[in-house]
Amino acid sequence: MNYGLMVSASGVLTSLYRQDVAANNLANVDTVGFKPDAVATRQRDSARVEDGLLSMPSNRLLERLGGGVLMAPNQTRFTQGAIEKTGNELDLAINGDGFFVVSGGGAGGPDGGRLRLTRDGRMTIDARGRLVLAGEGLPVLDTSDRPITVNPGAALKINGDGTVMQNGAAIAKIQVTDIPDRRALRKVGAGLFAASEGAIAARAPATGTIAPGAIERSGVDPIRAMMDVSNATQDVTANARMVQLHDDLMNRAINTLGRVT
């Protein structure tokens, strides 16, 4: 079989995958606290290396070709999004490193951990008086991993260090944490990140400060995301064209070169 056909096909497949990721970034261009994913691809080793057949003789020319391209694990870019004032005192943004900690989000998930991290600080008070995320209603935790219950009705003020003030007294401190290896974080939707219990246990107070009355805009750079989408299309077209050329080549080999006169 034509070796190049597979190489070009892998190009089409990875380009489609790149476009999927870029499309998700672009769809979330206005999602508060969203962090874009960066796509990575890697060269696939030639069949001999991949199958561990190093001692076998091989075609030196093919060896140099490699085996095409593979999807590599994607990484989330944790760059700071723009902080925008909203005037709503329960909108919190983190300026710098760190995440809010919330409980729930499917207890005993695949990783066994019940805590989730998020950069989306749009909060509200639920009917039980707890400070919760406005979207999913998950309770926001204080520095001792407890939900924060506030006095109903009394004006609420949140300071830059996360202290929740009511009637001039501090009633709780919102936890802002960071984990040493951010690659352990996994997106689970709704702006939440999950991590293994070990990674969660290794967390430490973060250096970021809270900007009250503000939200952190999506970290997606629309121009970059747009270019990723159109680049992927170009690459699909180019690789698909190569597939057609390989096909053409085989056509000639079979029907012209191999014709029995």
């Binding site: 999927d20 870029a22 969203f34 749009r122 406005a134 109903p152």
Partner: protein
Amino acid sequence: MAITALQSAASGLSALNTSLDVLANNLANVNTAGFKSSRANFQDLLYVEKAQPGNQNANGDESPTGLYVGLGVKVSGTQVDFTQGVPVRTDTPTDLAISGLGFFRVKVQDSVGNGGFAYTRNGQFTLNSDGQLVMVNDQGRRLADDITVPQGARDSFKVNANGKVTVDVPGQSQPQDIGEIQTVVFINPTGLKQVGENLFVETGASGPPVLGTPGTENFGEILQGVYEASNVDPTRELIELIRTQRAFEMNSQTIRAADQNLQTIAQLRR
């Protein structure tokens, strides 16, 4: 597959369209007394796992991160912004405003609001033919505190900061007490349901209404001769409108790009 990109982009278009609807309603109510602006909150959808972190490659190395593809965006909910609107002085004695926390309580049909009550920040009241204090709209919703102004005492109608209502009666030296306006706070006002006519009704998420005297504890004071203007900030809304429209355009480009890919693939075999 390009289908995922198509769906992500379609979810973006749908969410942005909802956001546009919310913005349009805010802008339409830029001059509605007591109106509170809303915003559509976005959140990312689930992620498809293509490879788990910790997968081993041929050399036995573990990959530190996994391979996930997101499926787009959705509107997680709309959130009402209860910040104070600008008080506008009219000197009409029946125009009232609450400075701070609280809602006026008005009577509605049981089918509209729980217990036959609805709540509003719109303090533009008037007197009906029976002298009762009612909202100025075609429904004439009655203030639940049952304030009835006696004939001829209309001009001397006074409401103090604590909601005490008095009128001057000819022939009496002291003003006569005719009732008290109480206001209501909720533990979670963002959980209230909007039912139109500037009214909010109680839900399970808002918590039960807490009745109190204005100007005490957390309850805001009542201002007379003033109404609370809409808290919609037109500049902010227009900027959001521009942002939403551009994001919409970009997502429609994704659809075209993904469509082009599908077309290319469909034509692979000649």
